[in-house]
Amino acid sequence: MRAPGAEWLGSVDVSRLQVVSGKGGTGKTTVAAALALALAREGRRTLLVEVEGRQGLAQLFGAEALPYEERKIAVAPGGGEVFALAIDAERALLDYLQMFYKLGSAGRALKKLGAIDFATTIAPGLRDVLLTGKACEAVRRKDKAGQYVYDHVVMDAPPTGRITRFLNVNDEVAGLARFGPIHNQAQAVMKVLKSPETAVHLVTLLEEMPVQETADGIAELREAGLPVGRVVVNMVRPHHLDEDTLRTAAEDHRAGVAKALSRAGLGGARRGGLAERLVEPLLAQAAEHAGRVELERAQRSVLAGLDLPTYELPLLGAGMDLAGLYELAKELRKQSVAE
């Protein structure tokens, strides 16, 4: 397997399918979108796919609900384009039937019977086969001139707890359907997913549970032979005070802090004055902050032990919006160049 990391955004020789997973709440959709923007540089074209039917991409880009169709959703600085697609299992199946078997009307009959419903919701794994299959089709698609239609495909994938099973479903299905078209299709998809053409990134926060899940997720991915890309540490908060400074403040300088607050125009420093009353809660907040910094440091060392290239994205003070997305994309490019 190609060593991941050395050239991520910087080179042409970069995985063409970038799968972004992460524990719920870590912002994997945001990171996937920022990554798609970052990869769409200098006239390149990326496709951002969503597989969980949540319309998270439309929300993020402030667009209307995405139809089952590849649609330009953003232009990257430098002229690159980002397309987006919300993959729908049922439509993907009908497409597939049409494409390979010309089953136009039979497809409709199957649908009427409930077979399509069965295939996409109940039949074990078929749904995931369809979703991964459609993404791989976009990866391999070429235009008439033989050029890839998309330079990169970025997938906003299921969360860490389910990602290995999701990506590996084709292996299982290939074993279940021992021959026949489903078998072949499953194997073709698996070939893409297990090749260096694919990289699976895990998004985490500097908190215990997400970091633990990330570590577990990486172990599972590796065991399944799926190519692990990077760890993306999201929503990193700035540190305003180090612990030593804080300890000094708490122990020796209560009166001094009250005076300083007063000097800065925040009321009286004497007992009962506003400045004096602010000291206690401000110090309490600072102590919480120090506790968090401590926890974050511990989580950082766990992440360091994973021995994977890491990206850090800042917490955006104003919350997430389109401008923030471009900012994160810029940050991703910067960090990949700096390596």
């Binding site: 719920g24 709440g25 959709t29 969980e52 039917g53 949540r54 078997y101 089953l103 199957l110 009427k112 019977l113 077979a115 419903d117 069965f118 919701t121 109940i122 074990p124 995931d128 299921p158 969360p159 707890g161 479903v169 299982e172 279940l176 359907a177 021959f179 026949g180 078209p181 489903i182 908190e207 215990e208 549970m209 997400p210 908060r237 305003h240 005070l241 400074t245 403040a249 300088h253 001094g256 802090v257 005076k259 300083a260 607050l261 000097r263 800065a264 125009g265 925040l266 602010l278 809660p281 401000l282 110090l283 309490a284 907040q285 600072a286 902050h289 926890l295 104003a318 919350g319 997430m320």
Partner: protein, 417 residues
């Protein structure tokens, strides 16, 4: 933002009285649902601890708990039955907890409802093995199945359920219906067609269509998989009625007055959007919503000081205090690391104070952002009762932590920092 911050809007939502809900003996089932990563499992466990402490005989059904939380409750080994958790409770109060093992649950259903030979055939079927090992949807069916089982045993007077981290948070509601519509559907008869052909003379015409269909299916799936599926369906045939009846019963149980849904969310746009969606779906399904648990809410003990004023004061101190440096706005990020000179104590304290103020400003911005997000939810659903749980600096993985969360759930308002 002006002084005094957080002016409570006119549409302040009603408070969710968690203790009243737990103390009400009529409450038999509490379902915690919501987006992934909002603290559903922790909330369910904390409610269990609190309910036991208040005299309920409670059982918590968790789906996929974090390892350390599971360990703290002694349910880290998978045996698919509830175990007693030692907590101090009022007389009669007990806590039991379990972690769902979906494969085991499925196997148990098969073993309980099919004769020994048939059960063996089903358990050995490759299609069944994949299905039960947890492809999309199985977890949802099995969670509902387990809930039905626990309720039927009647050993507990309160069942608290955590819901699976589904691709859609509503999958667990849809699962029983979906199973039902599949079992009622024509497709299953098509699948079974080879087994049933012959007995029904009047269906000749239909059978032509069906064999064409199975031909197509065979072409698509490969004959071996189709055969596995058919064998599976045939073997399960007698059990399907039972599945269906139980799925329907569980669904009705969720609509019953003894059930209370708690939608769990964090004050973030995605989580609250999902929560709103959930509230609407529950209403549609006529399922009783008790309220919204808002986890990880920030507060400040110094909220009389606005972010703007704190920042202005911080700048003021930095400019005044670091006169000998080229820029007063260098900020604490860089300067805090430098050892303060022996004779400029005031400068050092100013720097520290400026740092405290910047931290505070950041906190106030977080609070304001959370408030805006919540206001959006409240304006959509002003009728939904809310309880807030203050953000904790770290994760919870012991009973003391769960008890603390329980207290916050019951208090409903985050304590000031």
């Amino acid at each position: 933002m002006s002084e005094g911050v957080e002016t409570v809007g006119l549409d302040t939502p009603p408070r969710l009285a968690v203790d009243r809900l737990l103390d009400d003996r009529e409450t038999r089932i509490i379902v915690c649902c919501g987006a992934g990563g909002v603290g559903k499992t922790t909330t369910a466990a904390a409610l269990g601890v609190r309910a036991a402490g208040r005299g309920r005989k409670a059982v918590v059904l968790t789906i996929d708990p974090a390892r350390r939380l599971a360990q703290s409750m002694g349910i880290d080994s998978l045996d698919n039955t509830p175990r007693r958790v030692e907590v101090a409770g009022e007389d009669g109060g007990e806590l039991h907890a379990m972690m769902l093992d979906m494969k085991r649950t499925f196997d148990e259903i098969v073993e309980a409802h099919a004769d020994a030979e048939r059960a063996r055939a089903i358990l050995a079927n490759p299609f069944y093995q994949s299905l039960s090992a947890g492809f999309a949807g199985t977890q949802e069916y099995m969670a509902m199945e387990k809930l039905g089982q626990l309720r039927a045993r009647d050993d507990w007077d309160l069942i608290i359920v955590d819901t699976p981290p589904s691709r859609s948070a509503l999958d667990f509601l849809d699962a029983p219906k979906r199973l039902g519509s599949f079992l009622d559907g024509k497709f299953i008869r098509v699948l079974m067609a080879p087994a049933k052909v012959g007995g029904r003379a009047g269906m000749k015409f239909l059978n032509v269509g069906m064999s064409m269909m199975t031909g197509t299916l065979s072409k698509l799936m490969g004959a071996s998989l189709l055969k596995d599926v058919q064998t599976f369906v045939a073997a399960m045939d007698t059990m399907f009625g039972g599945f269906r009846t139980r799925a329907d019963a569980t669904f009705r149980l969720l609509q019953a007055p003894g059930t209370a849904f708690l939608v769990v969310a964090a004050p973030e746009p995605d989580a609250l959007r999902e929560a709103a969606y959930f509230v609407e779906r529950l209403a549609e399904e006529r399922m009783p919503l008790a309220g919204l648990v808002l986890n990880r809410v920030h507060a400040s003990g110094a909220d009389q000081l606005s972010a703007e004023r704190a920042l202005a004061a911080a700048e003021n101190l930095e400019e005044g205090g670091i006169v000998d440096q080229e820029s007063g706005k260098a900020g604490l990020r860089d300067t805090a690391a430098e050892p303060p000179g022996a004779d400029d104590d005031t400068t050092a304290v100013d720097r520290i104070t400026a740092g405290l103020l910047r931290l505070h400003a950041e906190r106030m911005q977080v609070i304001a952002r959370e408030q805006r997000t919540r206001d959006r939810f409240t304006s959509l659903h002003p009728e939904v009762a809310v309880t807030e749980v203050a953000a904790l600096p770290g994760d919870v993985h012991d009973l003391a932590g769960l008890r603390a969360i329980g207290e916050r759930l019951a208090a409903g308002v985050p304590a000031g920092a």
